[in-house]
């Protein structure tokens, strides 16, 4: 029993940067009942690749932070380790059906709008110029944002008596803490002396 069937597992694993086609072939030749519960070495390996891709997707859905420009486009800049830009946009397209979503990655600029994802090889500025002409959701002043609001809220949630460095690192893995949008969290965490934990 697994939440993914074998085809879904292969689909996800294919997006992994270290995926090898021979692994999928070997798994497909094995007893499907054992494969289904990852009881063989190859099926476990495939499952691990699949879950690494899925885990990165889940993390980025949590940690990717958007900017909003005055024309109502939500945009972010990040290059995932695996090829999942379209999956990230798919998630946010369902969440924000009225907005145009732009994800700038080293693999290209991905634009999601009205259930369609288009990949552009053009520069970010040119893509944004093209998108600005499309009618979008009414913003109701949401484009105005002061980062101090997040800082103030974030700091208000800290309970000093419960500091737990290990748990914090578990919640936000190091590679995501490096993201530019996590500046406040990173600064707050790194500026604490060991005695505070």
């Amino acid at each position: 029993m697994c939440r993914f069937n074998i085809n879904q597992k292969i689909e996800y694993a294919e997006r992994h940067r270290d995926f090898d086609k021979s692994l999928a072939g070997a798994v497909l030749e094995q007893n499907p009942r054992l494969v289904n519960v990852q009881a063989t070495r190859e099926s476990r390996k495939l499952y691990n690749l699949c879950s690494k891709v899925h885990s990165e997707l889940n993390h980025l859905v949590c940690f990717l932070r958007f900017n909003v420009n005055s024309t109502g486009i939500l945009y972010a800049k990040h290059t995932p380790q695996n090829k999942i830009e379209d999956l990230i946009l798919q998630f946010f397209m369902f969440r924000f059906p009225l907005f145009i979503l732009v994800l700038e990655s080293k693999r290209g600029i991905f634009v999601g709008y009205k259930n369609r994802i288009v990949k552009y090889e053009d520069s970010f500025e040119n893509v944004m110029k093209k998108l600005e002409k499309i009618p979008k959701a009414e913003l109701k002043d949401l484009e105005q944002f002061d980062n101090k609001i997040w800082e103030s809220f974030y700091k208000s949630q800290i309970i000093k008596q419960r500091f737990n460095k290990k748990l914090f690192k578990k919640q936000i893995p190091k590679k995501y803490l490096k993201m530019q949008s996590f500046e406040i969290e990173k600064r707050d965490f790194e500026n604490r002396s060991l005695n505070e934990f």
């Binding site: 519960v37 990717l64 109701k140 748990l167 914090f168 919640q171 969290e185």
Partner: protein, 382 residues
């Protein structure tokens, strides 16, 4: 006072409230909306205490007419007060939501004038989000003790989850904590009204652990009663932490390990369907012993290691290191007549062998339950 300053006060006022995002049982996905609550069991940040930050957790106001002895917002506490404007709260939340900083709203409040007046203010802010901003994401609203039935119904229509805090396990303990909060009328009667309401992500409650010197047995008794009678989705436990300028500021702090043990025992009741008697059987003086309750129950009740190829689903669940998913996988193998023959298979399936090994009968391996139990007993005695 500007929004940033208000957030400092009203965010801090809500930080002890425990909550998490729960996916609703139903969701209508129209295109004219902002947000959704289906994929909502995710965390967007974490504080240095390791606490996940997924919801925009704030109070509407920190003024309060109640005098709960453990609470920083109590009436007699000389504090700086703040109150949100409806529009201000809605706009601040939405500007964070569209940038993917938070997953939803958790709105609680102190009580100004009376419960209904404050509940109306909260309802106004939530309605603004739903109607003006077309927000269809997750909203968890606290029901204030003493709120009238019609207002509770209106709040339930706008929110995904509603909850009222029990704080103490029974009336006598509540009297120790607050002189003007009536446990039966202000809280339990409201819970009874909430029980029949259709709320997509259900109802929850919270206990403050250790403030009234209650024991684990009292708390688990009440939680179990709530699950059975109040159709509760989840109970939260918050270890008491003395707050300055409150009557309990000199009271001992409750160790966090107690909170962890209660969560574990609660999980056994809620998800693994353990009988409360089984959990009580390992208690000493009404307190849970050190260590994992599931392991302690298994040590006390399992006579011999079990054969995974024959065990039933409920028997599998009783083995430490085997959860729902591993049990389902083993049952799938049993149905397909595939025998489990070695520990590597078990590890691949996802069983935590470190915990499960001593309770499993495996062909060709010596089982060590008796020795393990003796060894454990020696450790516990020490």
């Amino acid at each position: 006072m500007n929004t940033v300053e208000k957030l400092k006060i009203l965010g801090a006022g809500a930080r002890y409230d425990a909550c998490s995002c729960y996916p609703p049982q139903y969701f209508k996905a129209d295109n004219d909306r902002i947000g959704e609550s289906i994929g909502c069991a995710i965390t967007h940040s974490a504080t240095p205490d390791g606490k996940p930050v997924s919801l925009f957790k704030v109070l509407y106001t920190n003024s309060c007419i109640f005098d709960c002895k453990y609470c920083a917002n109590r009436r007699s506490n000389n504090k700086e007060t703040a109150i949100f404007e409806k529009e201000e709260l809605a706009k601040t939340f939405m500007s964070l939501y569209v940038r993917n900083y938070v997953e939803g709203l958790f709105l609680s409040s102190g009580i100004i004038k009376d419960s209904d007046y404050t509940a109306e203010l909260m309802l106004g802010a939530v309605s603004l989000l739903r109607n003006k901003y077309k927000f269809k994401g997750y909203i968890h609203t606290k029901i204030l003790p003493g709120t009238s039935e019609c207002l509770i119904k209106q709040i339930a229509e706008c929110a995904d989850r509603i909850s009222i805090n029990l704080e103490a396990p029974n009336n006598s303990r509540m009297k120790q904590l607050s002189s003007n909060k009536d446990y039966k009328i202000d809280i339990l009667r409201r819970q009874r009204w909430m029980r029949s309401l259709n709320v997509s992500a259900g109802r929850s409650t919270q206990f403050v652990i250790g403030a009234a010197d209650e024991n684990d047995e009292e708390i688990l008794d009440m939680a179990n009663w709530e699950y059975k009678n109040m159709r509760l989705q989840k109970a939260y436990y918050s270890a008491f932490n003395p707050v300055q300028n409150t009557p309990l500021e000199t009271h001992d702090k409750t160790p966090l390990t107690r909170e962890v043990k209660l969560y574990r025992a609660d999980f056994l009741i809620r998800s693994y369907k353990y009988d409360l008697k089984e959990i009580k059987s390992i208690m000493a003086n009404g307190m849970l012993p050190e260590g994992d309750p599931k392991l302690n129950i298994a040590l006390a009740s399992m006579d011999s290691p079990i054969d995974l190829n024959r065990a039933s689903y409920s028997e599998l669940l009783k083995v430490p290191g085997i959860g729902h998913r591993s049990s389902q996988r083993i049952m799938e193998l049993q149905r397909n007549h595939v025998k489990i023959e070695n520990f590597e298979q078990l590890r691949n399936i996802g069983i935590v062998l470190k915990r499960a090994r001593n309770f499993i009968k495996m062909k060709g391996y010596q089982t060590r339950l008796t020795q393990f139990r003796e060894m454990k007993n020696v450790q516990i005695q020490h």
